[in-house]
Amino acid sequence: MSTQVEQPSADRTDWGNALALESAISALIVLIVVFLWGVTSGGYFWPMWVIFALAVPIVVQLAVRRALQVPPGPHRALALHGAGSGSLVLIELTIYALSGGGYFWPVWVIAWLVLAFGVHAIIVARRPRERELEERVSELTRTRMGALDVQAAELRRIERDLHDGAQSRLVALSMQLGRAEERLEGQPEIADLVRRAREEAGNAIAELRDLARGIAPPVLADRGLAAAAEALGRRAPMPVTVDVDLSSRPLPVVETAAYFVVAESLTNAAKHAGGAAAHVDLSERDGRLVIEVWDEGPGGADMNGTGLTGLRHRVEALDGTLTVSEAAGGGTLVHAELPCGW
C-alpha cells in the first residue's frame, strides 16, 4: 500500500528528520531522568510517567503518518479515525497498566471507540459499492446511447447504400430494357417479354423504396425532423397541423425514434379518429425532446396495440417515456419525451 502513495519526497524526509530528532531528544531526556532517579536513591520508578509522556506524541505521529499513506478519500478518513482511536486505546491501556491495575476502567471508553470505528468502517465499506454502481449505470447509459446512435447512423448508411447500389443498378437495368424494347418494334412477342422484365425491375425498385423508407425516411435524413413531420402531416388522410420549436437537430437515433412516434401516432389517429383533425407538436424542454400528437376524434384508441408497444420499446431504449391518454377534447393524446443527447 505504501508504495502506491505519491508524496513529495522532500516532505517525507523533513518529517522523518523531525521524528528522528524528536526521538533523539526524548531518549536524551529519558536518560537524564533515569540518571536523576538513580542518584536520588531510586524507590518508586516515577520516570515511567516521563517516558510515557514522551512516547505519546511519537506513537500518535507514527499512527497518523501511517494513516496518511492511504490515498485521499473515505478510506483515508477511516484510517485517520483508526489511528486516533487506536492511540487513545493504547494510552488508556498504558495508564491503566502503569497505575497498577485494579478495576478495568478503560473498558467503557474502548467500547465506545470500537463501536464508532465499526460504524464508520461499515459506511466506508458500503459507499464505494454504491458509487461503483452509479458509475456503471451512467457508463451503460452512455454506451447504450452510443450503440443505438451508431445503429441509427448505420441504418442511414444502409439506406444510402441501397439508393446508390441496388436501386441504381435496377434503375440502370430498366433503362437498358427500355432501350432494348424500343429496338424490338418488329418483334412484338420479344418486345412484350422485355417489357414484362422491365416491369419486374420496376416492382423490385418499388419494394426497395418501401424498405428504405421504413429504415430511414429520406426526407428525415435530408431535411431533419421538422420537415419529416410536415411530410407525415401532408401524407395523412386527415388535416394535420404541425408545430415545431427545436433549436438544433437531435442525434440521428433520437430523430428517428421521434419520427416513428409521430408516424405511428398519426396512423393510429387516422384509424380511430374517423377523419378528425390531428395535431403534432415538437418542442424541447430541459434537454428533452417532447413529442405530442393528439386528435379531435372520439378517443378510444387501443393503448396496447402492437404499434404502440413497439413504439414504447423504441422510446424506452433511449431512456425516454411514452404515455397515451385522453386529450382535452376527448381524443387520444400520445406524449413522448426523449433525452436529446445535445
Binding site: R160, H163, D164, Q167, S168, R169, L170, V171, A172, S174, M175, Q176, L177, G178, R179, E181, E182, R198, A201, G202, I205, A206, R209, R213, P218, V219, A221, D222, R223, A227, E230, A231, R234, R235, P237, M238, P239, G275
Partner: protein, 220 residues
C-alpha cells in the same frame, strides 16, 4: 430541343444520355454536381435540365435547390427532377418555384422510353410532367381534406382523365393512353371542368396548371 443532364452516378448518367440520343434528343452537356449544373446551364443555354435530386457533397436535395436557383437565373429553363422517392415536400417546392416547364419523375420511369421522352419534350416547351405517384398523392390528400366532394362526383373515367391531365399529358397523349378518341377525351375534360368549377380553356398547359392548382389548393 437542347437537354443537359446532371446525375452523379455515371452508370445512370450514361444510360440516360444513350437512351435520349437514340431517340434523337440533343444532349448538349452533362455534369455531376450542383456547381456543374449552374455552369452548364449558363454555358449551353439548354431548354431543359434533367437533374437528380440527390447530388454531392451532402447527397440530400442539392439537385432540387440548384435547379430552382438555375431557374431563377433563367426563368425559361425547364426543370425535370429525377428521384428515387416521391417526396411531397420536394414536389411542392418545385411547383412553387414557378409556372410550367416543371417535371418530377421517379427514376425508373426513364425505362418507359416513349413516355419519358414525351415528358422531357413537355417540360422543354413549358409543360408539366408529374409522376403518377405524385399525382395519386395529390388527389388523395385533396379528396381527403378539402371537405368538398367534387372529386367524388367524377366518374371513374373522369378521375382517370384528371389524373393523366395532372401528370401533364396532352389531350392526344391521354387519348392514346386510354385508347379512346381525342373527341371523347375533350368531352370528359369539359365535364370535369364543369364539376370542379374550373375556367375552361383550349390550351393544354393552362388546363394542366388549373388542375394542379385545384389539387394543391388544400395542401398549402
Amino acid at each position: 430541343m437542347r437537354v443537359v443532364i446532371v446525375e452523379d452516378q455515371a452508370l445512370l448518367r450514361e444510360g440516360i444520355v444513350a437512351l435520349l440520343r437514340e431517340q434523337g434528343v440533343d444532349v448538349v452537356a452533362q455534369a455531376e454536381d450542383a456547381a456543374g449544373l449552374l455552369r452548364i446551364v449558363n454555358g449551353h443555354k439548354p431548354d431543359v435540365a434533367i437533374v437528380d435530386v440527390r447530388l454531392p457533397p451532402s447527397f440530400t436535395d442539392e439537385g432540387l435547390r440548384a435547379a430552382i436557383e438555375a431557374r431563377s437565373q433563367r426563368p425559361e429553363l425547364g426543370i425535370l427532377i429525377l428521384s428515387q422517392y416521391v417526396e411531397p415536400v420536394y414536389t411542392a417546392e418545385l411547383l412553387a418555384s414557378g409556372e410550367g416547364g416543371i417535371g418530377y419523375l421517379l427514376k425508373e420511369r426513364v425505362g418507359e422510353v416513349r413516355a419519358f421522352v414525351d415528358a422531357v419534350e413537355r417540360v422543354a416547351t413549358g409543360g408539366t410532367a408529374l409522376d403518377r405517384e405524385v399525382v395519386a398523392e395529390l388527389m388523395r390528400s385533396r379528396g381527403d381534406r378539402s371537405g368538398d366532394t367534387a372529386l367524388d362526383e367524377l366518374t371513374p373515367r373522369e378521375s382517370e382523365v384528371l389524373g393523366l391531365m395532372a401528370e401533364g399529358r396532352t389531350n392526344a397523349a391521354i387519348a392514346r393512353a386510354m385508347v379512346v378518341t381525342p373527341g371523347a377525351v375533350e368531352k370528359h375534360i369539359s365535364s370535369i371542368f364543369g364539376k370542379l368549377d374550373l375556367p375552361s380553356t383550349d390550351d393544354d398547359h393552362r388546363r394542366v396548371l388549373a388542375v394542379l392548382a385545384y389539387l394543391r389548393a388544400a395542401n398549402d
